[in-house]
Symmetry: C2
Subunit: 286 residues, 2 copies
Amino acid sequence: MAVSIAHLGPSGTYAEAAALVYSNWLAQSFQQEALLCPYPSIAQTLNAVALQQADLAVVPIENSIEGSVTMTLDTLWILDKLQIQRALILPISHALMSHATRIESIQTIYSHPQALAQCQAWLERHRPNAQLIPTNSTTEALQQLEHDRQAGAISSQRAALLYKVPILAHPINDHPDNCTRFWVLGLQSSPGGTHASLAFSVHDMPGALVKPLDIFAQQGINLSRIESRPTKRSLGDYLFFIDLEADTRQSFVQSALEELRHHTDTLKVLGCYDILPKRIVDLANL
Amino acid sequence: MAVSIAHLGPSGTYAEAAALVYSNWLAQSFQQEALLCPYPSIAQTLNAVALQQADLAVVPIENSIEGSVTMTLDTLWILDKLQIQRALILPISHALMSHATRIESIQTIYSHPQALAQCQAWLERHRPNAQLIPTNSTTEALQQLEHDRQAGAISSQRAALLYKVPILAHPINDHPDNCTRFWVLGLQSSPGGTHASLAFSVHDMPGALVKPLDIFAQQGINLSRIESRPTKRSLGDYLFFIDLEADTRQSFVQSALEELRHHTDTLKVLGCYDILPKRIVDLANL
C-alpha cells in the first residue's frame, strides 16, 4: 500500500520538492510507493499526521539565510505525538519568471516574504523601484501571473516548468549556498540515528540554560543548533529547541537525557534520526 | 532643534505608536521636540540613522507571540555603528475593521503575516473560510480597503481611527498578553542602564556556546534572552544575540565582557540601556 506524505502545497513549492526527494528514495530503497498530499499550511500539514489523515509529513525546519521556520517549531511543541524519522537538506535556487518579455518592464513582483528577502540585493540592483507583493507560498506568486501577465514572480525553476511561465533570470538568490533543512515526521519513532532533536522549557530563564548545555558538554555530545521560541504566555518566557549529534540508543546519551529531565520543566524528545545523504537529494534532480 | 525619529511606516503602524510613546516622553522629560520620519522597511529605518538622515530609529525587536523580528537582528549585525539608547514594551491589541456592515459578509482579510498569525484562532472560529492575504504592514492592509470595501483588515484601533474605517471586533488577538519590545537606537551610546545587549559569533558551534554562557553564570549575571541567527554563510553556522540584566559601567560586567572576547570570534556590544517604565507607555494612551 502506498504511504501518504503531507506537504505544504500547492504543486510547485519547495516543500513538495522535498517530499518528492523522500518518495523517490522510498521507491528506490524499499520499492515503497508514495502518494503526495498538499495542504494549505504547515500547521495543517503536521495536523494531518496527528489526525492520521496522512502517514508522514515533510516540513521545512530551517533555512540557511532566513533561519528557523517558526510555524514548524511552534506546531511541533503543541502536537507532541509526532516523531522525526529523517532529515534532508534541499538546495534552494530562485528564478525570476514572467510572461513579460523583458526584466525592465516588470513593475510588480510577487513571492513568499522569505523568497523576496533572499533575493533582496538582486532586486535592488535590477528592479529597485518594483513593488514587492508578499504571497502565502512561492507557487501562489506564480498563480498571480495568470491575472497580471506583466508582473513577475520569484519561485523555483521546477515551478516555472509546471506552470509554463518563462524564466527571465536564474539564479537570483543573493547567497549561492542557500538551502533548507526539512524533517520527515510520523507517529512512529525511528529506531535511532546520528542526530537527535529535543524541545524543553525551563523554570526560570536567567542562567537556567547553562545547566542543560553543560550536561551535553560534560558528556562530549556536540550541540549543532539551539533556537529559542516564546512560550506565548508572557514576554521573556521561552522554550528551547536543541539538535544534538547523538544517537539516543547509546547509554551515555540516555543518561544525559535523564539528567536533563531534572533540570527542565517539560522535556520532549522529538526524535533520533539520520540525514538523507546529499547524493540521494542530487539524484532526484528536481 | 527637533530630534528626528525614523520608524517603519506608513502612519498607523505599531512602530509609529512606539515612536510616539518615545517622543511624548522626550517632550515631557526634556522639553525636547521630535519629528517622526516613516520609512518603508526596518532595514531602511536603521540605515537612515547609519547614514545620518535621522537621529534615532525605533524598531521592533521581539513580539511575545511571534518571537524575534529577524530583520532587525540581521540588519543590526551588519550596521555595527548603532547603539541601543533605550527599550520600551508596547501592548499589542488587534482589531478587525471593514466598511462592510457585518463580520459574516467578509470574504477576504488583509494584514501583516504576524498579525494574521496572532489572530489565527479567532479567525478560524469566526471566519473559517475567509481568504487571508498577507501585506507588508498592518497599515497597508487598511489601504487595501479603499479598493475593496467588502474586505476586512486587521490593524490597531488607532489605525482604524486615522483611516476612518469602522471597527467590527476588538480585541481579536488569541493571546491577551500580546506585546512587542522595541529598541531606540542612535549613533551615540547611552551612559549605561539596567540591561545590556550583545551579539557574537563563535568559531565552532558544537559546545562553543557553553563557555560564553558560563562566564555570565559565574559572575551571577542574569541572561534574560538568547537568540540564534544564521550567519548566511552555510547551514549550521550561527550568530547569537544575548540580553543581560547588567550595567556595563560595573567593573565585574566589564571583566566578563573582556573574558567573553577571548571565547568569541566577533563580539559586538549593541548597547547598555534602561527600559521605559510601563506608566510612561500607558500615559501616551495610543
